[in-house]
């Protein structure tokens, strides 16, 4: 009884139910939506968001926020793309190292500003959002890196599939999600991130090195944005200084919030975030199929975020009410 109740009030169940309902309703109108290929389309819409969402989840759990992910994605993708362009013949795998490394470095800068100067992350990352985007323009001289310069092996990752016609990058995204799951559930520092977000005052009393953990969290967010950056190059085959990663933070934060990560820290699950990302992907894939004009997309996203907030609140209130009954 209790176990059932606890499953029912879990956030993940709610999102899963929303995904199922949404799929059923859309499939009634458009049977094409309920096909393996459509699953592939949905999945192909998600890998970049999913990877960055893992980093954002950790940042939110630690009671911060990272608005600069889109610009970190853009800058690391640009540097990597330029490397491919200007050093032909360089091993394509090196791109991953470079992109992730640059992303981690940019994330560390965010973390350092937040911890050393004790600044609010929302403002710091708003500043670096502009700063990193500006740097992207400067290093690239406002030039796009064209398709022909992106190694074909890299591009093939978004197209060739090891199994079931599902391309490599989707497996990579799920691998990152699994790794994150392992990281938050099974490493000491992963648990410390949750402890830190759950009670920042008590954390140092239990030997949690707050500065280092915060730096780590921002560095991970940056590194994953860098990974998403090189995957952008793989997926779209170009890197553009103004478009690449622009507005990405909104998609990611929306997905993470829908996935049940609390902006008050301490709460969040990888499964919830994965489902949140998938729900967003379902909506994005279904709209053109239903012939809903792109102009409606913004309003729908806004409504989804607000609905997620309302659900969150009612769950929270039920929790409190339940407590009161138990105490009385």
């Amino acid at each position: 009884m209790n176990a059932l109740r606890s499953i029912l009030v879990r956030r993940e169940t709610g999102i899963a139910v929303m995904i199922v309902l949404f799929t059923v309703v859309v499939s009634l109108y458009k049977p094409q939506f309920f096909t393996l290929n459509s699953l592939r389309v949905i999945l192909l819409l998600t890998p970049l968001v999913m990877i960055a969402a893992m980093g954002q989840m950790l940042v939110l759990v630690a009671r911060h926020v990272d608005l600069s992910i889109g610009s970190m994605l853009g800058l690391s993708a640009m540097v990597t793309g330029m490397m491919f362009r200007d050093m032909p013949g360089i091993p394509w795998g090196l791109g991953f190292v470079v992109a992730i490394g640059i992303g981690a470095l940019l994330g560390l800068v965010n973390g350092a500003l937040v911890t050393l100067f004790r600044l609010p992350a929302i403002i710091v990352t708003l500043g670096t959002l502009n700063l990193y985007r500006g740097l992207t323009f400067i290093v690239s001289n406002a030039r796009q890196v064209d398709r022909q310069f992106i190694p074909s092996e890299l591009k093939a990752m978004s197209q060739t599939s090891p199994i079931l016609g599902i391309p490599w990058i989707i497996f990579m995204a799920f691998a990152v999600a699994l790794a994150t799951y392992w990281f938050v559930m099974h490493t000491r520092v992963g648990r410390q991130i949750f402890a830190l977000g759950s009670n920042p005052v008590a954390a140092p009393l239990r030997g949690i090195k707050v500065t280092q953990v915060t730096l780590l969290v921002f560095a991970i967010s940056g590194a994953l944005s860098g990974l998403a950056g090189i995957m952008y190059a793989s997926r779209w085959g170009f890197v553009n200084p103004s478009n690449t990663g622009f507005g990405f933070e909104f998609q990611v934060i929306a997905a993470v919030v829908i996935g049940g990560v609390s902006i008050n820290g301490g709460v969040g699950s990888v499964l919830g975030v994965v489902l949140g990302v998938l729900l967003m992907g379902c909506v994005a894939a279904a709209l053109p199929l239903l012939g809903i004009p792109g102009t409606a997309q913004g309003a729908i996203y806004g409504a989804v975020i607000l609905v997620a907030l309302l659900i969150d609140r009612s769950v929270r209130q039920q929790g409190i009410a339940g407590l009161r009954i138990a105490r009385a």
């Binding site: 458009k30 290929n37 323009f137 690239s140 064209d146 391309p167 779209w236 199929l289």
Partner: protein, 330 residues
């Protein structure tokens, strides 16, 4: 008091720089946004022209292509006192007021590679890369030749209100009525908003909704690349022919691996080249901005100013195929 002296100071400065630049005219080209590869080639036309003739050229552009982002840049050029503003407008009407202000100062305002349709009275002239009335028919013919003049086709456009694309789509709808295309059917027109993600989703939806689709026309550089990528990754390039308007630099791979057999465009370089020459000639009085008047441009020959003070750099579209694509470096 302070204000007066500031104005005097500014006026003095403006005079002195104006005097310096007397022999060369100042041209500024304002692109839709920075980092847009299309304008790299167009800008090159300006730059190389100004190396040969009497003009100073500068390129500026806002970071994003939204309707109002170009306004501060136009205001700045007015303040700088340039002679000619060439611009690819981000909005057909939000710039009217600031254009009027520029023209009131004697600056020639020319729109390049896109016009402010419906508000033509707010600019001096427009330079378009080709005769837009023919684009629709050319594109229908192209897709027809690729699919053997038989089967379902669809259009993947930019935004629903993009004026040029809508004009061409209108042309396509007219052209397809020709008996030659009787076995072809235009089943859908969708809009990818010139974003790769959105264009991809729309293309995927087209393939899902119309399993018998034979051809897709994407008359926008972002759309055609996204559509090509979808058929490439789905491995359906043999069944679905993607064509449209694209940049050789973005399409080269798709053409070479056979995903796209042919697509079209014009020369952005020539737009810049022509605009710079025309600007110098107008300022020097060698050309007149009147419908029907003509002027000479090296390499392009005699150019006529058409109805609505509109100029075309080439009469019809260039077609790019695997054979010729390596001849183009933009």
């Amino acid at each position: 008091m302070l204000k007066k002296s500031l104005i005097a100071l500014a006026a003095g400065l403006a005079l002195s720089t104006g005097a310096l630049a007397q022999d060369k005219i100042d041209i500024v080209f304002i692109g839709k946004n920075t980092g847009n590869p299309y304008f790299d080639s167009l800008t090159k036309g300006f730059v190389e022209a100004c190396q040969k003739i009497a003009c100073n050229f500068e390129f500026v552009a806002p970071a994003t292509a939204e309707a109002t982002s170009q306004i501060p840049f136009i205001e700045a050029q007015i303040q700088r006192g340039v002679d000619v503003i060439a611009i690819s407008p981000n909005s057909p009407d939000a710039l009217n007021q600031v254009f009027d202000a520029a023209r009131a100062k004697g600056i020639i305002v020319m729109t390049v590679n896109g016009d402010i349709t419906g508000n033509e009275s707010h600019r001096d002239l427009t330079i378009l890369p080709t005769d837009f009335t023919k684009v629709g028919a050319d594109q229908i013919e192209m897709v027809g030749s690729l699919i053997g003049y038989e089967g379902e086709i669809a259009i993947l456009s930019a935004t629903t209100e993009a004026p040029d694309q809508n004009f061409w789509i209108k042309g396509m709808n007219e052209a397809i009525k020709d008996p030659k295309y009787a076995k072809m059917k235009l089943v859908a027109t969708v809009y990818g908003d010139d974003q790769p993600e959105k264009s991809t989703s729309e293309m995927e939806a087209l393939l899902a909704n119309y399993p018998d689709l034979k051809g897709v026309i994407a008359p926008t550089t972002v759309g055609v690349a996204a559509a090509a990528q979808v058929v490439q990754s789905r491995g359906v390039a043999e069944q679905v022919n993607v064509t449209g308007l694209g940049l050789p630099s973005e399409m080269r791979d798709f053409v070479k691996d056979g995903t796209v057999k042919a697509f079209q465009l014009w020369s952005p370089y020539n737009e810049g080249w022509l605009a710079a020459h025309l600007a110098v000639d107008l300022k020097a009085g060698k050309a007149k901005n009147e419908v029907g008047s003509t002027f000479e441009v090296p390499d392009l020959g005699t150019i006529t100013i058409n109805e609505g003070n509109s100029i075309n750099t080439q009469s019809s579209l260039t077609t790019f195929t695997a054979e010729n694509i390596d001849q183009f470096d933009f």
